[in-house]
């Protein structure tokens, strides 16, 4: 196989056969309940050093409650897929959980820049599309996929992209390595106790993120009866056998929105932005993560039912999601 050119960046090396063996040996094929607390899910399925992909981000249907639990449990040396992510990456870096980031797009401020300059975090440049595409490759069980971008740019040079000759036409084409993260975190609208999951609305890559990952944790706004779920099989986008943990987390996307259900809490997003500007991320994390023992407690103590009701009431568009 002649490689015409290749980037020099570090990347999580694909190994489809090793991934297959993991799936064979660890996945539950029978219908068993996977409902557990966020604490148990993160404790059991996220280890220091893991590669973590999450979909989508703190703004829209992101697994925000799960990410706060990762911080609360002080996971370390994570490598994250920052495809289309907001201040999630900042929080994880500020909390010292992350030391490598594959970048598609993320909100960057002084927290990440300082961490990079001080050598506490290493960045690897890709793009949003390239990262979701690498997850797609991982979700197809392949070692790589050809793609028709990245070529010619510095992203090519500093990433794990290669340029080969198309075996059919002989013309040059790029390939990127599949990504099979150790952990996939997806926040969903509804799922049953086994993990059959529905996701409503346009989305980044909820399916690829779940299907490519070794360990899959879903947080869900609602756990619905499996018989009811089976009345609409086309709505199931993630099948139960891919799922290791189901965490019941109403407002699990807070402070982001779950379209059709509640609006983003813009006030909170501003508070987080200001915390970074003022160098007060520690205080922010203390308040929103460490001072409480759970997502539920955070909602009760720091958000309050009144605000939750407002966020719900203000999301007037239900069409296409819940009607």
């Amino acid at each position: 196989m002649t490689v015409v050119a290749e980037g020099t960046g570090a990347f999580l090396a694909p190994d489809p056969d090793a991934h297959r063996r993991y799936i064979r040996d660890h996945k539950e094929k029978g219908l068993v309940s996977k409902v557990m607390s966020e604490h148990e899910a993160i404790e059991r399925f996220v280890e220091d050093g893991d590669y973590v992909a999450y979909d989508c981000n703190l703004w829209v249907r992101g697994p925000a409650a799960l990410m706060r639990e990762i911080i609360r449990q002080k996971k370390r040396e994570l490598w994250i897929a920052a495809k289309f992510t907001a201040h999630d990456a900042t929080m994880l870096v500020a909390a010292g959980c992350v030391n490598r980031i594959d970048v598609g797009w993320m909100e960057v401020g002084r927290v990440i820049t300082e961490a990079q300059l001080e050598g506490r975090v290493e960045l690897h440049e890709w793009s949003n599309g390239a990262m979701t595409y690498r997850l797609l490759a991982g979700s197809l069980g392949l070692p790589f996929l050809p793609l028709r971008y990245l070529g010619g740019t510095d992203v090519f040079n500093t990433s794990g992209t290669k340029l080969i000759d198309d075996p059919y036409s002989g013309k040059p084409i790029c390939v990127v390595p599949a990504l099979n993260p150790d952990v996939g975190l997806v926040h969903v609208n509804q799922c049953d106790e086994f993990g059959n999951a529905r996701v409503f609305g346009a989305g980044i890559s909820p399916v690829e993120t779940a299907m490519a990952a070794k360990k899959v944790i879903l947080s869900t706004e609602e756990i619905i009866d499996s018989d009811e779920l089976r009345r609409h099989p086309q709505q199931t986008r993630i099948p139960y056998y891919a799922v290791d943990a189901v965490v019941h987390a109403p407002f699990g996307g807070y402070p982001g929105t779950v379209p059709g259900l509640y609006k983003a809490d813009i006030e909170h997003l501003m508070e987080s932005g200001a915390a970074q500007m003022q160098g007060k991320m520690d205080e922010y994390l203390e308040k929103w993560v460490f001072s409480v023992s759970s997502h539920e407690e955070m909602l009760g103590t720091h958000v309050g039912q009144e605000k939750l009701d407002v966020l719900k009431a203000e999301e007037t568009i239900k069409e296409g999601y819940y009607e």
């Binding site: 289309f84 440049e125 028709r148 010619g152 740019t153 040059p172 346009a202 980044i204 399916v207 568009i317």
Partner: protein, 287 residues
Amino acid sequence: MTETRTFTDMEQIITTSSRLMDGDKLYFTAIGGPPLVAVLLAKRLRAPELAYIVEDGTIAPQVSLPAPPFLIAASGASYRAAAWADMNTVSFHAGLGYIDYGVLAAVQVDEYGNFNSTFVGPAYERPARRFGGPGGANEIASLCWRTILMTRQQGRKFVKKLDFMSSPGFLDGSAGARERAGLPADTGPWRVVTEMAVFDFDEETRRIRLKALAPWATVDDVIAEMEFEPMIGPSLESIEVPSEEELSVLRAEVDTTGRTVRGCWITVELDGENARLVEQETSAEGA
């Protein structure tokens, strides 16, 4: 009879870009910022049927105006779409050649339309200022037939050498450079829009070329705000300043919080087709 009009540099960039858009073409934009605002403005004022695709998988939505304040995280952004898909799917549609124009913002642009949205500074590991990253720009600039780039007219933005090439223009400008790098044939940057100028690209050399000028600016004004000298087109067209209607729609309906359109204020005195610069705010903060 003269009239005084005041608008931001970004409002000019957005309105100029929006006037390049047609209802029978398909557009691909990042999820927010000036490109999306320009598309919404075109759709509201001139081309209600215009369809666009967003990198989050939204296909041809019908955002009802006034737009919600934080559109990037609002269900209004994908309201009454033709389809809700995902990020991979829409980039496949671009890869298949369905998408005529990509619309993007850039931190730095070079003379071949390559651009940077990753960092400025001495080295990747040591950024002076780090930005969000390529985002969806690399794929949009590679896969759509033509790319419209939006940026401010500043020397630090039109650079001889990018600190990092996040997304491709014509690469080194040689014939077939994009194809040799694996990108689809016959694609590339089409226009670069600033508050002072519109550039296209010379078909032979692939170098950026001044095509149109704001009525209150000169060629020298433009060149003064570039690290390199652009080619000058055979007949320079004149850019119209934003109309009262455009500004009103932008401010009252499309970007009601002013998050996107804010920038340095420009005040001009209009007299028929002529315009005289009254005042141009210069501010590092506006960039």
